[in-house]
Amino acid sequence: MCFKNLPVEFDAEGRPFLREDVPDPYSITGTPHTNGEAKTLTRDQIEELLEKNGHIEQKNFDPVTRVAGALAFHTVVDSQARKVIEARSVATLFRGYEVIMMGRDPRDAIFITSRACGVCGGVHSTAAALAIEMACGVKPPPLGIVVRNLLLAIEYLYDNPLHLFLLAGPDYSEAIVSKTNPELFRRAQGTPAPHSNVHGYSTIADIMRDLNPLEGSLYLEALGMTRVAREAYVLIGGKYPHPQTIVPGGISATVTLSTLNEIYLRIQQFFDYAKRVVAIYDDICDFFYDADPRYRDVGRTSANLIDLGQWDDPDAYDATYENCGAWGEQRWATPGVIIDGKLVTTNLQHINLGLEEFVEHSFYEEWAGDGVRHATDPLGAPLSPYHPWNKSTKPRPQATSWREKYTWATAPRWDRQAMDAEASARLWNTALAQKIPSNPYIESTGHSLKLLLPAGRLPETELEWKVPDVWNAFERNRGRAYSVAYTSLVALNLWSKASDLMKAGQTAVSTKFEIPKSGTQLGVGFWGAGRGFLSHHLELEDGVVTNYQIVTPSTINASPRDPWDTPGKYEEAVLNTPILETGNGGFQGIDVLRAIRSFDPCMPCTTHIHSDEGVVTREINTCACGVD
């Protein structure tokens, strides 16, 4: 049994059913069992502390985002105890793709929902295609499935290095560390880098110098590698980040052996790159732990992770909800839920049943009182009124109130527990489940993943990602580094499979289909983004969209408190983060920023400080000249 809060049990054949002895099974009045460790105070207690103590101050981290979605962060910091005593994650913009989709032809979802993300639009296109395939009963041909998988792997190879070196990397650079923790940088200058034989840096300080933004060679190299990945993607996707060739039933591009060879030339560049990325992040993470064990608490949360798995087996995937438990477990990344570090399910149907979204602290109206659209899923298993298939998006803009509503993000929960959506969840689930297809490069040991990277300029290398004993900002980044290696090897397997299919003459890449013109159909795209979990839930009625719900990894991670006042994961991570900066240049909030950025927030999260003294924002004036 995987649920400990929802009143869902399983019969002898493993079919879920709702317990009959619970009068109001989805009531939110009880208190769920959770394993969150963050201590929270009430708003009244916080206000009293602010009033009575000069050393307790509000510190707000407000990103400058002019066009795309944005994340802000409100904290109350006790500067004597050097800890955060209140943390509130704030999504500042309503994006509304679910509202835009209402009443449309479902195929529009591929192009409209892609715009939900400027980093990885292709994952939304594909999740939409999967949802439509399920609703319309269409299975792509094997090569269509494999090539779609390949595109996803390439997106990850774009996305993860981008985060590691262009977004999070600067937080560990000489430019930042020498300012926020000068003693740490001095120590780095005298600390040999354990993996110098792989990455070529003699000391940790040498690594930090090349992590410097705009000038460091690691930063510039990552810029170059993102280009390599984009080049590979557009060979089939047409363009990036919003591809033109993702369709329900496969892809709409012509794929030849020449195309595959062009893609291989680019994928293989990531084998050596991954060896170096892992070596760099292993050295950086271990250096911080050795320098001060309190860094293990930066961004620390309970190890609750969720992922839907991705990269379908063309022989298993049939696009049906009825068989999703079986085809899900055949994926190259195993679906799963981790609670307290332990794997509790790998079954996509069970993961789906546990999903709920709450809006007690979000700028939306409740919908649960409107009546339940679907009391059960297509297999007859019980669905919560808060499940995405039952959700209605009802935006209600209003003033921010820390007591009530303060964000445009909802609070997705699984079995009423806050979850972490992560690249590392792919590693964690796959390592523990031992269900990965047999292959020459990736081995799931039950407690780790062994990754055999082919020789390039560097020799053939076996890396091993081990389930960490603490779940914090450093391990999220380390996991993302190992994900580059893992993804490159999945891509290699997929490339081999695509080549085999082409050699066997199985060159079809799409299946024709019709949108049903009558009746109600449900579909769900169980998929993933570079940073983790992604689902698109779809309801069709008489051929048009009557409900569309997207749950992204950043919605999960940036969630506010839920009906039981349990913080979201950004909030929990910041509440557990000690303030370790020592520099004299005023409060930089680097430890808080490392905690938040380690989740790879999918918002242009160039976070800037807002303190009681005023707002510090970046102003770029393009009108530096007179009008002609």
């Binding site: 400058v64 985002t65 002019r66 066009v67 795309a68 509304g96 835009i100 409209i112 715009r115 993300c117 400027g118 980093v119 639009g121 981008l162 262009l166 977004l167 600067p170 430019a175 933004p213 705009l214 000038e215 810029l223 993102t226 280009r227 984009r230 363009k239 990036y240 980040p241 999918c602 918002m603 242009p604 999260c605 160039t606 970046r618 770029i620 004036n621 393009t622 009108c623 530096a624 000249c625 007179g626 009008v627 002609d628």
Partner: protein, 171 residues
């Protein structure tokens, strides 16, 4: 070579001004010295494209809708003067760019940092009237698009296949 580039989001009302204008300009025949390009994508990728053939363009005209607090519908034209920005400012722009923010400001700052914009770069900005989600432009922006299209034809010359319109003062 002259680059005429539009920058803007699709389906975002007048904020799609640059992208929509490029679509219209592409329906015309231009001299081989004029490249009409939609540069509404990650500015880092635009830089990669410019870097492929350094010094390809002698001149650039970049067109977008930007909210600057002017009278809605006002069309501004200015010559871009490269201004040095701090590392933190450029890094902030890069971070926004790689996470999907499409914007003229980022394109200019990043292009200047990497030294890839032509020295002779003109910026033309529309103060949007309607920046809500939706297809097409507001009537005022439609009028400005027509004026700007005529000005570009007069400035850079169109081939004989389409009859040229007369130049219109903008500003």
């Amino acid at each position: 070579m002259i680059l005429v580039g539009g920058v803007g989001y699709t389906f975002l009302g007048d904020l799609s001004f640059g992208a929509i204008l490029v679509e219209r300009l592409r329906r015309r025949s231009w001299p081989s010295s004029v490249a009409i390009e939609d540069v509404s994508y990650n500015p880092i990728t635009v830089m990669d494209w410019l870097r492929d053939v350094p010094d390809r363009f002698d001149r650039a005209v970049l067109i977008s809708a930007v909210e600057r607090g002017d009278e809605p519908g006002h069309l501004r034209r200015s010559r871009w003067t490269a201004t040095a920005h701090s590392t933190a400012e450029v890094q902030a722009c890069v971070a926004e760019a790689v996470t999907g923010s499409i914007g003229l400001d980022n394109l200019l700052v990043i292009g200047t940092h990497f030294g890839l914009l032509p020295k002779d770069t003109t910026v033309i900005e529309l103060e949007p009237v309607d920046s809500g989600w939706g297809e097409g432009l507001s009537p005022v922006a439609e009028q400005r698009a027509a004026e700007l299209e005529s000005w570009l034809v007069a400035e850079f010359g169109e081939l004989a296949s389409v009859s040229p319109a007369s130049a219109v003062e903008i500003g």
